[in-house]
Symmetry: C2
Subunit: 236 residues, 2 copies
Amino acid sequence: MRRGDMIEVVGFDADDTLWQCQDGFDEAERLFVDTVSPYASPGVDLEDALRATELGNLAISGYGVKAFGLSMIEAAVTSSAGTVPSRDIGILVDHIHDMLREPVRLLDGVADALHAVAQTHRVVMITKGDLVHQTRKVQTSGLHHVFEHIKIVLEKDVSTYRAILNEWGINPSTFLMVGNSVRSDILPVVELGGFGLHIPYHVTWDHEVVDAPKGTFDTVASISDVVEWLATENPS
Amino acid sequence: MRRGDMIEVVGFDADDTLWQCQDGFDEAERLFVDTVSPYASPGVDLEDALRATELGNLAISGYGVKAFGLSMIEAAVTSSAGTVPSRDIGILVDHIHDMLREPVRLLDGVADALHAVAQTHRVVMITKGDLVHQTRKVQTSGLHHVFEHIKIVLEKDVSTYRAILNEWGINPSTFLMVGNSVRSDILPVVELGGFGLHIPYHVTWDHEVVDAPKGTFDTVASISDVVEWLATENPS
């Protein structure tokens, strides 16, 4: 029996699975360090300070570019004891608005792979992040029509996946989730009794890194391999 | 026939219908003006500058506290030609994070009215805004269990309402929407063939003000009047 025969619905993560995301945050972080360095208080590690501010605000501001932007500005002020000129703050805010404005950059092979999977399976998107920004990315991706459902959520854990699959009437044992984060895309779905297919991205946000992945899931090198994975005979 | 007999589902807006919202933005705007005034460039009207920046960013950053915060910081820098000290920017960012953190303040009579309506009707929430912040407000309101569905959307127009009612299997002719914004809560639902019940709030964001309300809808003074409105004999 082919794996694809057991699976009825294929869910895709979006950021760093369908399109570039983390690179943009990394670039913003470099801009932050370059901009604030001349004014940083002695002994302050700017990257650590930014990360600590981000994590401290995560519960109230969530993931996404706007939350990151506010944390970046807070960290710029506190790390420099208020000595960074506000015109430099202006540079950081403008960069955040540019990030929100910039066109989505699809990863290689995404459009072909999604259209191929959609010929044999129901296709959905489950992604974290900011409602406005993710909606804009979906709409400008040209891929909106491929997805039967699109859900933008706050956190991708077992209870979130259970609620979504329940709402959509999907039995977890017929569901495959494809994504770049073992923590958010793979482990919770495997725990629910579904399938996970990991596509590593060249950078992973520290927060998404898990020490010892539990459960059983496969890894492929690129999204172009998903169709073949679905078509492969299942050894069991 | 009572109005409530024709209506099966009652939808509630959230901000300034169930809990205070605009007051918080107005307070933040006063803080912005007080903070930036000493550094404002000659001839700049700070309130106008903030509003113009907000509207200019609306398409990419949307509604909500985080989007407002980034616009406020951008406006502080540009309106002062970069002369506002960054410690003052820090005060504005802290205030934004406080807004995200502060407990939801229910308007008078909301809990009783919602529980009463829920005894005779299916109850849903349709609200604009930021996913994280609105979810937090719903969860801390203590009213989460009253709602059969909760939808947080980018814009409340005819096509949005049509899609939501369709997804929930609700016939517009059996749907009543209750809210403080004629533009967002009432007119689009009336246009779809549903009912609108307007509860004016003492302040309305300029952006939500409509010049000449079209269509037919009723107005009540407070959410406590919704139950009686549903129970009133319909003259037609």
